[in-house]
Symmetry: C2
């Protein structure tokens, strides 16, 4: 098995952190996003969305999308469990994972692309829309702070994939000054706790 | 159990179609999105994202997010299987579901909101960004047509949740003139086939 990625990209970090929690060793091949290697025909044959990471299985099958890759490894290596054990816990983990992805991760990514113009060689950017996305992401910092006042982890009593998604999103947001506010102490305490896990440095 | 929704909303259709495929009867309670009922404190206590659908369990637990709700019912009622049977099939269904959600469903929703200004009473709209999203969605119509030239269904050999997501997204897109092109005959044939399922009228 092998993963095509760019180590410094936040999406790559999500899978790396997940695999580190599982104790799974992996071979990596770096893709030069800045040069557009991900948009070349050879890479699009691996992933029609042109995004990293992509997992190549030993039989040559390619799997894309972070959550699909992580869930695949959850099934191959069930422990430690990171997606939930019962039907209700799994649904709760997925609900919070989606809250994070759609309301924090995506707006943060759009803020980055539209404020910095990082990919302006290949897409039209709208800086005002980027600023709007930044505010949308920040609004969810407050919601997460309220959640973490009641529960130690994003999806409940224990560390799950939802925490990995939230940590990688929040850390990525710093590039466009999306930051935890001083008064969001529950969110900050959670951030300190999750950041201290060895997997956070994967 | 009960689902809070708005029947004409495309997100509600995704869950309704899924439940129809499973043969699950459900009680529904309508939420007036136009009047902002979903943003009132009473509803936000059920779902902090302020979105429909929300599933209320018999013990008063609330579950939000279409895919979390559908996967919960997949576990309670495994047949007919709509999320995949093996680890690899499940990952493939999830990969294609995410391709659809992030590249077709989300851009279509943003095109709708930013072109029509449907929610301009509660959000800033950027019509040019809406037009850009429309083009992004249309680019995936071509990718789906190529996929469906090789496979009868979005995720492979058989009907899955990925087909439900694609159908509901494509049908919703018509409101902003996002439509299957005449030359996309594989996509059109798939659309005809999937639309003829009784669940498509749920």
């Amino acid at each position: 098995m092998k993963i095509y990625e760019l180590k410094r990209a936040p999406n790559a970090r999500r899978v790396r952190m997940f695999l580190a929690e599982k104790g799974i060793e992996m071979a990596y091949h770096q893709i030069d996003l800045g040069a557009g290697e991900n948009l070349a025909p050879e890479f699009l044959a691996k992933n029609p969305a042109g995004r990293i990471p992509v997992l190549e299985l030993d039989d040559g099958t390619y799997l894309s999308e972070t959550l699909a890759i992580c869930r695949y490894f959850e099934e191959l290596h069930p422990e430690p469990n990171l997606f939930g054990r019962t039907a209700l816990e799994r649904a709760t983990v997925e609900m919070w994972s989606r809250f994070i992805e759609f309301n924090l991760w995506l707006p943060t990514g759009m803020a980055f692309r539209h404020i910095t113009g990082f990919y302006k060689d290949r897409e039209t950017v709208f800086p005002e829309w980027g600023e709007e996305c930044k505010q949308q992401a920040l609004a969810w910092f407050a919601k997460l702070d309220a959640r973490l006042a009641e529960q130690p982890y994003v999806a409940g009593e224990r560390f799950t994939i939802a925490d990995i998604l939230a940590l990688c999103s929040i850390d990525f947001g710093k590039v466009v000054d999306i930051r935890i506010a001083p008064e969001q102490r529950h969110l900050q305490a959670w951030h300190d706790r999750v950041s201290s896990r060895p997997s956070a440095r994967a």
